[in-house]
């Protein structure tokens, strides 16, 4: 099948039709890349398939999404333990504080910002005030448990002492 639409150059003059018979067979022309829709935020995996004329090449790229801060084994052990049983208030407090400190340092969050951080260390939202932050994330479903923190402080709010 040939296209009958005449090709024109920049000036508008008609150009000779392309001879499609010289083209590569249909199976060799460019195909769009096959992209898998990631099931979770941590597992973003794109596998494009780029066929080339005369030679097929399958190239695989793995993109893991934005970088996550490194969590030490001590923290990951507590996270694993949290899947099996409920963590005590003291354990959970310590966990939040450790992850918040690592995450704030990793993402260079300036002091005074209010942030929502996932237990994998990712900052999911940031705002200038408590109310702004909570308004943004209220009712939103996240893949991981999210806690809120005040950068540059050891507590989110409370009584002035």
């Amino acid at each position: 099948m040939r296209f009958s639409l005449p090709l024109t150059d920049v000036s508008g003059a008609e150009m000779p039709n392309w001879d499609y018979s010289r083209d590569a067979p249909l199976e060799n022309i460019f195909l769009p890349p096959i992209v898998e829709i990631p099931s979770s935020e941590e597992d973003i995996r794109i596998e494009p398939f780029f066929p080339r004329v005369g030679k097929y090449e399958e190239t695989q790229y793995v993109i893991t999404g934005p970088a996550l801060p490194y969590l030490p084994p001590k923290v990951t052990r507590i996270l694993e333990r949290g899947k099996e049983r409920k963590l005590s208030a003291k354990e959970f407090s310590k966990l939040m504080e450790t992850i918040a400190n690592i995450s704030i340092k990793f993402y260079n969050i300036i002091d005074g910002k209010y942030v929502a951080i996932g237990l994998n260390g990712r900052v999911v939202e940031a705002a200038d005030s408590q109310l702004d932050l909570l308004s943004k994330i209220q009712g939103v479903k996240f893949n991981t448990q999210v806690f809120v923190w005040h950068a540059g402080s050891d507590v989110f709010s409370g009584w002035t002492t």
Binding site: V140, G158, W159
Partner: protein, 139 residues
């Protein structure tokens, strides 16, 4: 010139208490509203809006709002874990605030009674009349 006060509450046990009616709204779903009615002590040392017992957390979860864990500092200086979300105060005492109410931060923890903090009082004039044992608020 006499001051016109919107709300006058008498002290109880040498402290000012008000009844606060409000609602936790899920902005992601229409009709997701969890109303609450708690008695709060006015606490000028509390920097946020509202503090309530943790039983309110399950009410919020019913309407799809999952309160976020965090850490707060208590009056004695200790750090404790608590849950937080946004709430709208609709009534303070007998005074009904114009819709949609006053948007404040709500903290939930333990079984302690409610506290109304400075975030909720920042838009009004509050007078603690010690000799008359009265709390007066003008919105």
């Amino acid at each position: 010139m006499t001051q016109v006060w919107d709300l006058i509450e008498h002290y109880r046990d040498n402290a000012a208490y008000v009844r606060v009616k409000g609602v936790i709204i899920n902005p992601q779903s229409s009709g997701g509203r969890a109303p609450f009615n708690i008695e709060c002590m006015i606490d000028t040392g509390f920097s946020s809006g509202l503090y309530s017992e943790e039983s309110l957390r399950s009410d919020a979860e019913i309407v799809g709002v999952t309160p976020f864990p965090t850490e707060i500092r208590l009056g004695d200086g200790s750090k404790v874990p608590a849950y937080t979300c946004v709430a709208h105060i609709e009534e303070i005492g007998a005074y009904r605030l114009p819709p949609p109410g006053l948007k404040v931060t709500l903290f939930m923890r333990g079984t302690r009674k409610g506290y109304l903090g400075m975030e909720a009082l920042k838009s009004c004039v509050t007078l603690f009349d010690g000799p008359a044992q009265e709390l007066k608020i003008r919105f």
